[in-house]
Symmetry: C2
Subunit: 373 residues, 2 copies
């Protein structure tokens, strides 16, 4: 192997990074509490529970990255005494703290929904008075897939909302944004400052979990350059190296930034087949200091998540042109255990494929609707 990249985390994102790294003769190592994780098929996993786990992990690689946005900053600080992490610590720190993230969006003139910091029930009441109801109360730290959130629709939910989320520390109250759809933009920045951006993904959720993404997002020609501009501001400001994701709401006032993830993203899984160079390969290229690959779309693509329960592999593979990616994870409610990529020729074919898929998937989530590509 020519180089070794150490990855904080060992889930499916690390697994798919390592799959992309292998043909470049780049080996990955992982740091993860569960050593029997999805990434374990592709490289050694150093246990985050073992006494010398971190120091052994740090010794195992030339350069480091992450697939887990809640990687403890304390671990990063031990690492960066001797080794380099891409993306930079600052990006991670900001992404771990919603209020810092909003402040950065403000600083870079990236529009966000009106928000207020909330650290007491009184502040929550005054935020509600100022922003109006409904509003979304979120913990500033932690929270993903719709967890750590409370949608406050009436005054009499105030105490309940505070009781549920107050103990989590700093909160953020956001205006409830009326949006027509949610999109995400993913970009990569290389060590020479090159930036490449994939096409916008249109993301559909079910109970707070991503159900499927359509790329390019339909009717997004006007939105693409705007989103591209926003993410480029973030990448350059942070002197970022690697893949960054920005989730956005499409509103009648334009795009509002929701949050960023300092890593490859579920809404970018389509790029394995659908783009010339995938988010995983380009992340590895950036971290390894190699030239970036083209992010051009090969063909419109739909990525469908497999949540909780496995479909029959044979049923999925019988679908015309379907690609299956399983993560070797055990079944559990709400858990992402794989995804399926479809590359239909038109909306009619997409709708037909998705209807077939909805019958095959134990958890079809939001898939039964008519779909547009």
């Amino acid at each position: 192997m020519d180089k070794t990249i150490g990855i904080f985390g060992g889930g499916q994102l690390g697994r798919m990074m390592a799959q992309a790294a292998l043909p470049l003769n780049i080996q990955c190592t992982f740091f993860e509490a569960n050593t029997d994780c999805p990434s374990a098929a592709l490289g050694p996993v150093y246990s985050a529970k073992a006494e010398n786990g971190l120091s052994e992990f740090i010794a195992s690689a030339d350069v480091f990255s992450l697939e887990f946005e809640n990687t403890p900053l304390a671990d990063v600080d031990v690492l960066t005494k001797n080794k380099t992490l891409h993306p930079p610590r600052q990006a991670l720190a900001i992404a771990q703290h919603r209020l810092s993230e909003k402040a950065l969006f403000d600083e870079l003139a990236i529009p966000v929904a009106p928000y207020k910091a909330v650290t007491s029930l009184e502040q929550l009441k005054s935020a509600a008075a100022e922003l109006g109801l409904p509003l979304v109360l979120k913990t500033s730290r932690g929270g993903y897939d719709g967890k750590g959130q409370f949608v406050l629709r009436s005054e009499d939910q105030m105490d309940q909302a505070w009781a549920e989320l107050g103990p989590a520390g700093e909160l953020i109250a956001e205006s409830f944004v009326t949006f027509s759809r949610e999109v995400s933009i993913i970009a990569v920045r290389g060590q020479n400052g090159d930036v490449k951006t994939w096409s916008l993904a249109e993301n559909h959720h079910h109970n707070g979990i991503l159900s499927h993404s359509i790329v390019p997002a339909p009717n997004s020609a006007d939105l693409q350059p705007v989103a591209q501009d926003y993410i480029t501001r973030l990448l350059n400001h942070l002197n970022y190296i690697g893949v960054l994701t920005l989730e956005l709401f499409v509103t009648d006032k334009g795009l509002y930034a929701n949050e960023m993830a300092p890593r490859v993203h579920n809404s970018g899984h389509w790029s394995i087949e659908g783009a010339v160079c995938s988010q995983f390969e380009n992340h590895i290229r950036a971290v390894a200091g190699l030239p970036l690959g083209s992010t051009a779309v090969v063909r419109p693509t739909v990525m469908v998540n497999i949540i909780g329960l496995h479909p029959k592999t044979a049923d999925v593979l019988a679908l015309e042109g379907a690609h299956l990616h399983l993560y070797n994870k055990s079944e559990r409610e709400g858990r992402k255990i794989g995804h399926i990529t479809l590359m239909p020729n038109d909306s009619a074919e997409l709708t037909a494929l998705c209807r077939q898929l909805a019958k095959i998937l134990p958890n079809p989530l939001a898939l039964s609707e008519d779909m547009t590509i």
Copy 2:
């Protein structure tokens, strides 16, 4: 993991099979003399040199296949007492013996160049008298990448040819076929008898080693159905399961079969990016009893071998749209250590990319010519 497939061999073909198997939750194990082989990154390697290597390998998997066409039949016979091998033993036995292979082609009315069996200098002389010169003398067993062959151009080379190849046992003398180009057809047959065929590859060699393949082979619309018919006859006759390759010469009398390989093939590496479903994934699907994927071409593709010496990774990745596949092999003259996939829009772009590549590759082989796609 849902299933384990044991592979005889552990080279780059096994490595790429295992890469395709991983997202289907299929684990591969390998049987190979050198346990530090290219496949070792993706699964356990059982040593062909160890006393219990074969029995441990046989115990390691549910179903078996191969990436090495010279897999000893004795090993296969031990395996098939208790476990199943795809493709069938008979296909392997025939492919290991050129005379049996020619006899099978004759039986299935697949045209071949006129040939004679040769087991003595006298037979060689009478073959030369009957077939005329030049002729190609080949060993019936072993030999690849141009080894084990002698092109006999004049009567006075008779003794030298016999001295070189005679000790190898049974020989075959073939008419020297005047061909305009060499192509290969790759097909896969599933456990339900389904057959899917990829587009013909046009193969360019340098000193007997494959330099590059162009897919679809230019101007091959007439040849494709003929080649497809030939390989389908072979697959059905052999009750074959998995990927089979048939090398063919394009002559003014039509296609002549050269030889078959009962496995995925170097001239099919383009299919990783260039086809909807690659030769590696479809081979794994077939061996695992899963439905086959589409073999349709995504886009015309050129695969270029990296022979002997590595180019700089950064130089290759800087080429627009280039995909790099390294096999984690050490450098050695004439050794296949990686390949590069290019997906140009037209012949001009291809020629330009290949000229750039010819400068980057330490061994550009046959790449400096103008090229057509």
